[in-house]
Symmetry: C2
């Protein structure tokens, strides 16, 4: 199956690396809005200008879109779905229904197949929530994230005047996780579920007290959480905080009768968020390619994909080995 | 959707209880090989003789088959698939391909839809293995079971002369689980993964040493494990060991590059194995009914089922709430 990567930041690099572990998938090209000649790839894959993508219509089976959810994907996915079958990792939860409808219209009209919101959350965590809800309808879900780097929160700190660079870790509160794992169903506020650790490089002469206060009081991002702010040097940030670990846990507990309760959990511990997400997106592309070959057009999410379509193994092999 | 339960032991009772939590599903009848008049149900559902089932062809949408895998289901599932769409929980892993083919032939020929090997293992654990393998192709799976009652091992003890009753718990070895969760990929023997705790009621005057030795040396069941045997009275067995808890954990760890490793885990902690399994089977029946209505005939496993088909929620609701 011939695959293109459209957008070449951390996530695009993660997808690129995943080809080494998926011998049935072939990377045809990487498409970038930068100057292709200036881009150094991880594996020596060919790089093209984004505008050249249309020359690959009919050649590339599935294009994996590695743009951001805030401004890139809302335009990019419907536009590219007119020329290619596509996969994206759109993660603005509130806008998923609207994004789905726009992509569905374009893909369906042009006979393409699309999968949006692939990855792990949304993605594998969403699947865990669905299966858990179906298996145990009377219960309650909890999702904990981290310990891991939140790109959005790191960016929010970087926008504060006087901040040169920053890294924010989302940290689940162990006591809350333990309560939920034990089958209790506590009411938890945002503050009781996660805390936020910020590592900040201040510009020379900047007012550190003001920066710290601005972070702690920032609505939505930090005001509702216990937040620690640690100032570090640029060297320290690079040395100690340049990895992009992440993870988390989905837990559902509930009852099948007055007497009997059950706890289900799905957890991830990831050294590299973009590499793992890239690997999941490549599996999604496999499913999209197979669905397209069967004439299943329009937009989908992982909720609509038969699990077997994600695997390199045949259905017979899967039944024999993994069932 | 109208559902029948065929076979009324612990699992059948578990399915019956699940209807209270699934308001879109209606229990039409329970079919038993015993005298229907002598059967007391959990919820007052009507009971019929197994032979009467054929009168419900065209009325019952999906029949859930609650027989044993050793002798019941290999005959029951293909036979019933000629008259109904069916769900079973066939769990003899080595014979799944053969069972699948027989059920597929009958279901396809008669325009019915079947799902075999529903439940949690095989079932939800199989799904966890598939998704984890697709997301992380270069890695290694581990499955731990317990702490929980193994019906098969309990039965094996009961067949020993001089044994009146018995209960066997499969117990995962915490040290092994911790190693695997930490992302190590140890080679583990059967003995290093699980131990087996047996609680045995001996008949009066029986040779306890012989019973204990027979258990410990039983090939396949106990010889390869560290096994404890505790003799208890009939009253103690009833008081302390009449619940049917179970659970376990599927863990996969692997790499997306030379530098970056990841650990995925799916775990269950169940107060009642038959109630939870019954609840999963009812969700499987929902999917089978929907697939049948779309004209998707023949045999399937959870690997072939779009997750959304298991849920009471519509695809729009799922995208809005759980993605």
């Amino acid at each position: 199956m011939k695959i293109g990567i459209y957008g070449y930041g951390n996530l695009g690099r993660g997808v690129e690396k995943a080809f080494a572990k998926n011998p049935d998938m072939e990377l045809t090209g990487i498409f970038t809005r930068r100057d292709p000649a200036a881009v150094q790839t991880e594996t020596g894959a060919p790089v093209y200008a984004a505008a050249q993508a249309e020359e690959f219509t009919g050649i590339i089976d599935v294009m994996i879109l590695c743009g951001g959810s805030a401004t890139d994907l809302p335009e990019m996915t419907p536009a590219l779905a007119r020329q290619f079958s596509v996969v994206d990792s759109f993660d603005t939860h509130a806008r998923i229904p609207e994004h789905f409808d726009r992509v569905d219209r374009e893909a369906f009209r042009t006979g393409h197949t699309a999968l949006i919101s692939g990855g792990w959350d949304p993605g594998l965590f969403s699947l865990a929530r669905l299966y858990m809800n179906a298996a145990l309808p009377d219960g309650r879900d909890y999702t904990f994230w981290g310990r891991g780097v939140s790109q959005g929160h790191s960016d929010a700190i970087r926008r504060i005047p006087g901040v040169k660079d920053a890294r924010q870790y989302t940290v689940p509160i162990a006591e809350a996780v333990e309560q939920v794992r034990a089958g209790k169903q506590p009411e938890l506020t945002a503050r009781e579920k996660h805390l936020r650790e910020c590592f900040v490089v201040a510009e020379e002469g900047a007012d550190r007290d003001r920066i710290e206060r601005t972070i702690r009081e920032m609505p939505n991002y930090f005001a509702d959480y216990d937040t620690t702010v640690t100032f570090v040097t640029e060297e320290e940030l690079k040395r100690d905080h340049s990895a992009l670990p992440h993870g988390g846990e989905v837990i559902r507990s509930g009852k099948t009768s007055a007497e009997n309760g059950h706890v289900m959990s799905f957890s991830l511990k990831l050294d590299s968020n973009p590499e793992f997400t890239g690997s999941v997106l490549l599996a999604c592309a496999r499913a999209v390619g197979r669905m397209h070959a069967r004439g299943v057009f329009g937009c989908h999410t992982l909720f609509d994909v038969a699990p077997a379509d994600l695997s390199i193994l045949s259905r017979e092999e899967l039944r024999g080995r993994l069932l």
